[in-house]
């Protein structure tokens, strides 16, 4: 038994990398909304980057430890305290039975991740314990955690812990640029509308959830077209309902839907969506953009490396980092990428 939850926080769920390959069954991907922070919290503990952890939303939980265990926090700044003493993120902290950990309201960012050495146990379905609340899948009981819930260890083997350089800590303080490609239905929008979309600052409606965020800033009316028949959607798809207010789909995105898709946020920038909830965001045309938050995007790209390219060497990985223009020196690329790699042996 890792810990007992005394207060659940606004919406605390168990998340890992999510369900893959189930979209044809209608299964959303789910998983951590900010995979970078999930990976960083796990990395400092030596967990696999995608080990299940707690995802805390806007206001964090309060819990009491029941065993000696290391934990780590990453993501939104939620004024974490262990026995009323402030504790920092991105480092390994040892807890003893009886220790109380409490997270407050997010001062910056939207979601924080609490990882425990060995990961948190949950109900596995389709190779993931990620909680998908609408259908009650994953997690402890398919729902957000409640007071009294008991967290148990997944007992995942850990590797050598990784030190996270300060420079890799996310900075949630500024505006965000999300890079996107024009969506498959871009042709149904007036070219001027597409141009507006890629240049207008939007902010996210506060009612957003893991399924999607409504973007407020400018209307994106769709040309009068024949009604669209239901077609695929993915996390990062920006769809435009008839009222013209675009919806940016999140990790719990439905698998198919009937609204025109004006844009698709690139994979590397998906982890930025949630932190961006608290500030303005500007979709940027992928090809046109060279002045994005390269640093954050590069960190996200490391995740893609974890997830999609586990067998590649760092040398092969470099082009994808170069694509996002980070960092200026190839030497640094090698070192950073190597340090974030879950299997140190592969990272010469």
């Amino acid at each position: 038994m890792i810990a007992t939850l005394h207060q659940p926080g606004l919406q605390t769920t168990i998340q890992d990398a999510g369900r893959r390959g189930g979209r044809h069954l209608g299964l959303p991907q789910s998983g951590a909304a900010d995979r970078v922070s999930l990976a960083l919290a796990n990395a400092v503990l030596g967990n696999p980057w995608d080990a299940p952890a707690l995802e805390c939303t806007m206001t964090g939980p309060a819990l009491e430890f029941e065993m000696d265990i290391d934990f780590a926090i990453a993501g939104a700044e939620m004024d974490a305290r262990l026995n009323d003493e402030p504790v920092g993120g991105y480092r390994r902290i040892g807890a003893k039975p009886g220790d109380r950990l409490a997270l407050g309201a997010a001062k910056a960012g939207a979601r924080a991740y609490i990882a425990f050495a060995g990961g948190v146990a949950g109900c596995a379905f389709f190779n993931s314990v990620s909680t998908y609340i609408p259908a009650g899948l994953g997690g402890l009981h398919g729902q957000a955690l409640r007071a009294g819930d008991v967290l148990r260890s997944r007992n995942t083997d850990t590797m050598a812990p990784v030190d996270i350089p300060d420079a890799l800590h996310p900075n949630f303080g500024h505006d965000w640029i999300l890079r996107a490609t024009p969506g498959p239905d871009a042709e149904y929008f007036n070219p001027k509308t597409i141009e507006d979309f890629f240049s207008t600052p939007f902010h996210a409606d506060r009612r957003g959830d893991r399924m999607g965020l409504r973007l407020i800033g400018a209307k994106m009316p769709c040309e009068d077209t024949p009604p669209m028949k239901s077609s695929a959607m993915f996390p990062g798809t920006v769809q435009c309902p008839p009222d013209g207010a675009p919806i940016l789909l999140g990790p719990d995105a439905q698998t198919i839907g009937g609204y025109r898709r004006i844009a698709q946020v690139i994979d590397a920038d998906l982890p930025l969506i949630d932190p961006a909830r608290r500030s303005d965001l500007v979709p940027a045309h992928q090809r046109a953009n060279r002045k994005t938050d390269k640093f954050a995007a590069a960190k996200a790209d490391c995740l893609i490396y974890f997830r999609f390219q586990p067998s590649l060497t760092v040398a092969q990985f470099q082009p994808s980092l170069k694509r996002v223009g980070w960092p200026p020196s190839p030497h640094r690329t090698t070192r950073r990428a190597g340090r974030l790699t879950p299997h140190p042996s592969r990272s010469e």
């Binding site: 209608g26 698998t255 698709q264």
Partner: protein
């Protein structure tokens, strides 16, 4: 026009728009056959059939964009187009229409100027095919609905639709295998468990299946519910 139009969908995806099919059942079953073929290939992360589209996302570590494009075009060109005739299982779905199980049933009768009996007969009279699965986990799009039953979606979707709910929207009827938010008009609910958690096939519906609805009473609903584990 039998050659699909293929467009990029994000930096690691493509979508094929199908044309030349005489019905949504035909295009949907073809899209699913293509998607199934693609899912067997290395480097394909997802292949999702819509009603008349196939979206594919690939792993850039295994495929480059040209290869992925060619793979989609090849699958869409070489899959037999007459997929409707492919044998599929027949699924019997008992439905308790109206009342607490079908909150939109009465309004639909009024709107369509049908008696409750006529609505039930119209909806349960015809066999349907599962056109595709999606939107929500295990949600089955069934088609096509008789002309007289076609209605738009709800203006404001419900935040919670119970598992087993049977809805109508446009030319389709659909079944929610698990609880979900949803905008379809709910006319009844099946007591039959639609989710059995099998590892790769956790839902009873599969594209191409033939579905027959059968009206049951509330007491039969309760009895079927009790008889299931």
């Amino acid at each position: 026009m039998n050659t699909p139009t293929i467009k990029p969908f994000g930096e690691r995806g493509f979508i094929a728009q199908l044309g030349g099919f005489s019905s949504d059942v035909d295009s949907g079953l073809f899209a699913n056959a293509v998607a199934r073929a693609l899912r067997d290939k290395n480097g394909v992360d997802d292949a999702v059939a819509g009603i008349d589209t196939i979206a594919m996302r690939f792993d850039p570590a295994q495929l480059d964009a040209e290869q992925a494009h060619a793979m989609l075009l090849d699958a869409a060109s070489n899959t037999p187009r007459n997929t409707r005739s492919v044998a599929a299982k027949v699924i019997d779905i008992p439905v308790c229409y109206g009342g607490e199980y079908g909150p939109d049933f009465d309004a639909l009768c009024t709107q369509l100027k049908l008696t409750p009996e006529a609505l039930v007969k119209l909806h349960s009279g015809a066999p349907y095919r599962v056109i595709t699965i999606g939107f929500a986990p295990g949600f089955a799009y069934l088609g096509e609905l008789p002309e007289g039953l076609s209605v738009p979606r709800l203006e404001t979707p419900r935040l919670h639709v119970a598992a087993g709910s049977v809805g109508v929207a446009g030319r389709y009827t659909g079944v929610y295998s698990l609880p979900s938010p949803g905008g379809w008009r709910i006319i009844g609910r099946t007591p039959r468990a639609l989710f059995d958690g099998r590892e790769h096939h956790p839902f009873i519906f599969e594209p191409g299946d033939e579905v027959r609805f059968r009206a049951v009473t509330p007491s039969a609903f309760a009895a079927i519910t009790r008889a299931q584990p």
